[in-house]
Amino acid sequence: MNNIVFGQYYPSGSVVHRLDPRVKLVMVLLYIVTIFFVVDYAMYGALFLFVLAVALLSKVPLRILFRTVRTIVILVLITAVINLFFTQGEEMLFSWKFIHIYKEGVERAIKLALRLILLMLFPSLLTLTTTPMELTDAIESLLSPLKIIKVPVHAIALIMSIALRMIPILMEETNKIILAQKARGADFDTGGALKKAKAMIPVLVPLFVGAFRRADELALAMDARCYSSVAQRTKYKVMHLAVRDLIASLFCLAVFSLVFLNKYLWHFDEMILSLFG
């Protein structure tokens, strides 16, 4: 597979793609923290617009971005339903036998759903615009202060990058084995859960055998070249902070601080209400 990086990476060469991966990673972490300080709809809206703006800048089609939300739809629905039914409040909206739905429950369900969706969107944008290798490099660089207390940061990063490198290879191998067994009449699509699980054995066994073989070969090849994880080594791609990284950071920080200001100083909801009311 011609150097395809696995997973979601969507190459479009936009300015978001070119940002320093360390900056992107830190901003995503701050964003995740920020989400938990959002209190009102206005701020959910603001963050949503923020994500949308970054998505447009990154030239990743919105269709692809929103597809990542599909994977958590069930989780969102379950948490929303649970909150809807089990939140006690003052203003009863609906009551039937043992089911009581309060206004507070509705609000909580909506806010949690929004929160989960927002939690999914922005980090997805990170993996859509950053290759796994860049992310590993970023993590290594950000963790490098830990080297002082003798944490083997480089070895950890190496393990991560080998694992990441292996994923597309193993996926390709899985595809090949599935095709080969299909050619021998294997049927992966019909039957109950047990039958389907059993049908996977002819795929899993060769896959594991192959994975161990590859691991052996790789270890041998690294040994043969006297690889050592303690040696000082240089990077093929050196990360440099650029002006655009500064601008991006400032922009993100401005948006995030809006959330905190809103929670602790102002209340947009009330302001907006008073405007109209």
Binding site: L179, R184, G185, A186, P202, V205, P206
Partner: protein
């Protein structure tokens, strides 16, 4: 007519930045009993093409008919198709999975839904056809066999389904000269046994020239030429355009021509070369 392909076009990962068109308007007719070689440089679409023949790849556009099985039908009979077209993928030894050779070889026939008796019969025959001792290997783990033996067991797993068409993707890649000869001899044997039609993808021009009735030369997702080995391997312009090499017999002939000795015929196999060389000498 055993295989009929019309205007086959295929794109991997369509509508994504990774879209790669592997086949563009490929048409091909293969008669029963033909030994067809497929050549072309890496990435020219050979594997993609043959994987279409037993519906490992879903048709995007074009038509394929294998005997009376129409792959354009709404629900083609895949079981029947896979029993008809036996596909030996590249490095088939990496597909072995079961505890014993016998069980592994019986996987295909069992998927076809045959009776236990029939399965046992076919497995024994397949293992013997590929030149292994049934009694000796049946209870051994396929993982403890040698490389060449593993490949034979894997091929046995396909021919135990008794396909009328045998398709092999680079079956001699990565083998030593002796292993190559053995596999080529095995393919001939199989052709005479159950699979009158054989399609082989190969980078080994010598074996293609030696064995094939017809050769399909793939270039850039298209069939540049589908003709006899003689027509293809003596077409210098075609070979250089598609970056193909010619078999050693043809190289010898060209060297002879350069030295001023032209032959009465255009040989592509060793036997033909010997015949052409001896004819003038009245032997």
């Amino acid at each position: 007519m055993s295989i009929e392909v019309k205007d086959l076009t295929y794109t991997y990962s369509p509508n994504t930045p990774y879209a790669a068109t592997a086949l563009r308007g490929v048409s091909l007719h293969i008669e029963e009993g033909e030994y067809v070689g497929i050549i072309g440089k890496t990435g020219s679409g050979k594997s993609t093409f043959i994987q279409h023949l037993n519906a490992l790849i879903r048709l995007q556009s074009g038509e394929i008919k294998v005997y009376d099985i129409d792959l354009n039908a709404k629900k083609p009979d895949l079981k029947k198709l896979r029993g008809t077209v036996g596909m030996v993928m590249q490095y088939p030894e990496y597909q072995l999975f079961d505890e014993t050779v016998e069980k592994d070889v019986s996987y295909g026939p069992r998927n076809l839904g045959l009776s236990e008796e029939e399965i046992r019969e076919r497995v024994r025959e397949a293992i013997e056809l590929v030149g292994l001792d049934y009694e000796e290997v049946r209870d051994r783990s396929p993982f403890e066999l040698s490389g060449g033996q593993k490949r034979r067991v894997a091929i046995a797993g396909v021919i135990a389904m008794r396909p009328r068409i045998l398709v092999l993707d680079e079956p001699i890649a990565g083998l030593d000269p002796r292993g190559k000869q053995e596999i080529l001899a095995l393919i001939k044997k199989l052709k005479n046994a159950y699979s009158p039609t054989v399609i082989v993808v190969s980078h080994d021009m010598d074996s293609v020239a030696e064995n094939c009735d017809k050769v399909a030369l793939f270039a850039d997702g298209e069939i540049a030429r589908f003709a006899s080995p003689r027509e293809i391997f003596y077409d210098d312009e075609l070979l250089s355009r598609t970056e193909m090499d010619c078999p050693s017999v043809v190289k010898v002939v060209k060297e002879l021509e350069r030295l001023g000795k032209s032959l009465p015929t255009r040989p592509v196999t060793k036997a033909e070369l010997v015949a052409a060389l001896t004819v003038g000498e009245g032997v």
